[in-house]
Symmetry: C2
Subunit: 233 residues, 2 copies
DNA sequence: CCAAAAGTGTTAGTGATACACCCATGT
DNA sequence: ACATGGGTGTATCACTAACACTTTTGG
């Protein structure tokens, strides 16, 4: 058992007024060809019953990212997700209860893991289309808008999108994912050429049969050790 | 005189432990063909005499950006700068005095304004080359490294670089600026073609004579109203 | 007329876009 | 044999990269 390190609580810094600090998480998934975001119904004193992004107060002995992971798991039951710090929102009156600064994270989870059953505690978490969701508490609409913009732009120059798919996927599924997030259609041949040029995915020997047509080949991401320096990751 | 709005200090949220929150600013300029960052010598109890990024505790009644502006002016005398939120650092033990979360901002100032004389209070502020600066307090090296990366990448796809030049400038100065920040040389003809294609700058009728050679034409940024939708800003 | 930086065009290569038909399967 | 989505190649265009000489000025 490691003893918790302590701070110097006699320091002058404790004379400065302290704000409350929360972490809010915008978690996306793609389901039924829709980009969706997870929202929870608030139980706290203020804005009870309103929908909001999952969030909570940080603990002093955990890093911001640890807070984000803990809160996400507590509130939604989801674990092992791609997580990235988004922006810190600190308007003085964004919360009438006090000065509350929130560090927003954005997270992606694949459509398989997403199906995890909500536990008792998270009965009030629900996925909403990003084009059709209820009014949100606080400045959470602003946070959501901002993270949508970020997701779209990161999709173009990184491979975050892969986080939203299961381990094995067809190229059509991958393309559909891009189309859904970017809200535009893409050319099939050009899309496949692009993906091939990235050198990030490889064929498996399996195919996926769905419906009455030619089965689609399943692909997977190359394991790290087979990626070259020059490959974009 | 507007009365200050108040918060509900009886709310449960005040039962959660609160961290200290600071703002730290990484402010860059280009001077003598070097990319430089402003550092201050600490006067506070802890780490007195060590160099650090200018920073300070937020006030509860100002936004994070207002805090950043106030602190920057207090500590360095500089005003009216380009300012952008960078990242929020919150490792639990980054400061031994207590749990301190810092919202880092990154700022750019042109080489003219930069010459402002330091006031009494800011006597201990100094510009350092980003390749040669003293050891920094806390995790400020990490913050600085991160903002350098951000500056470089933003330089490639935005026009932030323009913030580092005075109103009127020669194309060679602009190119030098890019070269200094990116730490690589650029082709003169290609650079000029690129700038021309952006449609953001226009010739003035003035030239700049410096030394014994052909005078260079001065350029300025087009005023907003002459920019077309299609022009990258 | 010399030194020094300003200024200017063309070509080759690379990546993006537009576009239409055949393939494999289940019924 | 047909309906359905899977899978493939080529031509054009736009952008990037490489490269060298002439111009203007002060001394």
């Amino acid at each position: 058992m490691v003893e918790k390190p302590k701070w110097d609580m006699t320091s002058d810094i404790h004379k400065y007024p302290k704000p409350s600090v929360t972490v809010d998480i915008v978690i996306f998934t793609v389901q039924n060809d829709e980009l969706r975001v997870l929202l929870v119904k608030r139980k706290a004193d203020l804005k009870k019953g309103e929908w909001a992004l999952p969030g909570g107060f940080i603990r002093l002995d955990e890093s911001l990212e640890e807070s984000a992971k803990r809160i996400l798991e507590q509130k939604t039951g989801v674990k092992d997700v791609y997580l990235e710090q988004l922006y810190t929102f600190g308007d003085p009156f964004r919360d009438s209860r006090g000065r509350v600064i929130t560090v927003a994270y954005f997270a992606l989870i694949d459509s398989e893991k997403m199906k995890i059953k909500p536990t008792e505690e998270v009965a009030d978490a629900q996925w909403f289309s990003v084009y059709n969701y209820p009014p949100l508490a606080f400045d959470h609409k602003k946070v959501l808008d901002y993270s949508l913009t970020r997701l779209r732009s990161k999709l173009e120059y990184t491979t975050v999108g892969f986080q939203l798919l299961p381990q094995k996927f067809t190229l059509t599924e991958l393309q559909k994912l891009y189309e859904v997030i970017l809200a535009k259609t893409l050319d099939k041949r050009n899309f496949r050429k692009k993906i091939a040029s990235l050198n990030l995915v490889e064929q498996t020997k399996e195919t996926k049969m769905e419906g009455v047509h030619r089965p689609a080949r399943l692909y997977k991401f190359k394991s790290k050790k087979f990626l070259l320096e020059s490959d974009v990751v």
